[in-house]
Every structure is written in C-alpha cells, then in structure tokens.
Symmetry: C2
Subunit: 186 residues, 2 copies
C-alpha cells in the first residue's frame, strides 16, 4: 500500500475503535468515515463490508493487547514490580477495552457469525493470563483471581464516562485503576 493509503486505513480503524467503544459495532460506516476524515468511497476501498471493518478493529485491539503483554513480560526487572504492573494495566485501560470488548466479544450473535472472533478473543485472554500469572508470581495479585474476571473488571473501570464527568471528577480513572490494583492484591 502507498503511504497515504496506509495512513487512511489506520485512521479508519482508529475511528472505528473509538466509535465502537462509544456506540457499538452497529455504528454506521458513514459515521466512521466522517470521524476518520475520509470519504465513504475510501472506507469501502479498505473495508468492503461491515464484517471486514469489524475484523480490522478486532485485529487492531488484539495487536495492541499483545504488544502490551509482551512489553510487560520483557520489562526491565530493575524497575519495581508494582510500577511495571501498574504501567501495564494503565496501558490496557488506555486502549478503551472497556468500551470495545463488551460490544464485540459479548455479543453471542456476532460471535456465532464470526468464529474467528472467538479464536482472537481466546488468544487475547491467553496472553492476558500470561501477564496475570507474572503479576501473581511477583506477589501483586491474589492466586484466585482468574483472567475472565480480571478482564471484566478492567473493562468496567475503563468504560468512558464522558467529558462532563472527566471535568467534574478529574483524575477518576487513575484513582479507579489504583483502587482496582489495590483490591487485586493478596
């Protein structure tokens, strides 16, 4: 792909991730194109139908989670374990999984029609479980915390609450991440 085509594709996927988080995968392709600042024709060139865009979003999210896990697993052990763990969880929260996962991975009809989504979700959970095991080994997470609950908690605390709440209760997200991490401790 030419550089501007790559940039367009990236802009479309990012716009779709953000709109999926706010509205869900039922968002119109026209709204995605508009948010991405491209014409609808450009969107269709990259993603001929709704399912191919869904796949683009899922691959994007999966890749980001996977990279975050790899970075966490490879982090400098000289850095305090609790700081590495916090940075990792903060990065996951920043991915706005809270908006996206409930919309995508939790819709039975969507999963039934797109079995690759189940494979991708399970693979993402496996990667996340690896990070969770490391955090347990470092004494930061109770043994009984399982990855699906951990992920649900992550999804809930990372759900967007809108600009108004962000203004009225500044720092709520960091506070909630810290409270969650404290609650996971042995």
């Amino acid at each position: 792909m030419r550089a501007d085509a790559v940039a367009n594709r990236e802009a479309i996927v990012r716009a779709a991730v953000s709109l999926y988080a706010d509205v869900g995968p039922s968002v119109s392709l026209r709204a995605v194109a508009s948010r991405a600042g491209v014409g609808i024709g450009t969107l269709y060139r990259h993603f001929p139908d709704r399912v191919s865009l869904l796949r683009g979003v899922a691959e994007h999210v999966h890749a980001r989670v996977s990279e975050a896990v790899s970075a966490y697993e490879a982090a400098d052990p000289a850095v305090e374990a609790a700081r590495r763990w916090r940075a990792f969880v903060t990065e996951l929260v920043g991915l706005r999984l809270g908006g996206i996962i409930p919309q995508m991975a939790a819709d039975p009809a969507l999963l039934e029609d797109n079995p690759w989504l189940i494979t991708m979700r399970n693979d993402g959970l496996d990667r996340l479980d690896g990070a969770l095991s490391l955090a347990k080994a470092e004494g930061l997470v109770r043994e009984e915390v399982d990855v699906t609950r951990f992920q649900v908690g992550l999804a809930q605390i990372s759900r967007p609450l809108g600009r108004f709440v962000d203004e009225v209760v500044p720092g709520w997200q960091d506070w909630l991440v810290d409270t969650y991490l404290r609650g996971l401790r042995p």
Copy 2:
C-alpha cells in the same frame, strides 16, 4: 390515586429506570410504556411530558439511595461492620446506578435545563458522604477517598454488561464489588 393507578405509575417509573440505565433518557416514551405493560395514554396521564418522567425517575433513584443510607446508618451495630458496609454497597450496586447516573447527572444540557436535578444529585451525594464517613470511622475506607470518586467507582462497577457476560463469567458482579471494597480499605 386509586390502587391500580399507583401500581401503573410504579411500573412506569421502574420501566423508565431500567431503560434509562440501558439506553439513556433519550429512550422513547412508547418504549417505556411498552416495557411497563401499559398503554401510551396511561403513561401520558401520569407523566405528561419527558421532563416529568425524568423527574419521576430521579425521585425514585434518590429515594432508594436515601433509604439505603438510612438503613446502613441505623444497622444493628452487633453485625460485623464489614458485613454491614458490604450489604450497603451491594444494595447500591443493585440499584443499577451505574447505568442511570452517568446518563442523567452527567449530561450538562440536561442539568442546565433542570436545576432541580442538580439539587437532587447534590443531596444524594451528601447522603452518600454520610455513609462513607461512617465506613471511614469504622476503619473500612481510606480517609482520602472522596464521595464523588467513590460514586464514580460505584457507577462503573455496577454498569450492566449484558446477559451473555453474566452467563460466561458468572458472579462477576459480586467479585468486582468485593475487589472494589478491598481496594477502598486503609
């Protein structure tokens, strides 16, 4: 009001609370009537316009929160403090505040048009702060936890995730309540 009129009004408010939580206050009055199992004419007799229904919902939520706080403050001190606190927070979570508050109290335009909503929200926060102070005095919550953050955390963990997640990750809500309470501890 006659007994069946009272029952209808109650059914309409409960339907509206539930639909506000899922969809937001923009939900159609027809959908509310249908969920409540009453005709649209019956709904209009009780709530002639959108704002009067909004007020009905806000009063209902405010009354439930207020009752829960009163019950917590008057609870038998022979019951272990942590159990009383947990029961109170679980009750708040059961009110589905997580769906309703972000939709209602966080919409600046809605608040601007309906100043009574701000009064009601502030009064609700005051009541909640009373309960939080009691929990602090009983050594269950860190001093620095402020009521707006506490409420945001409550809202996030009580957001509905849909029947599919409830089936795949059974007990996620109780687990998340416990994790949150543990995270709030000194």
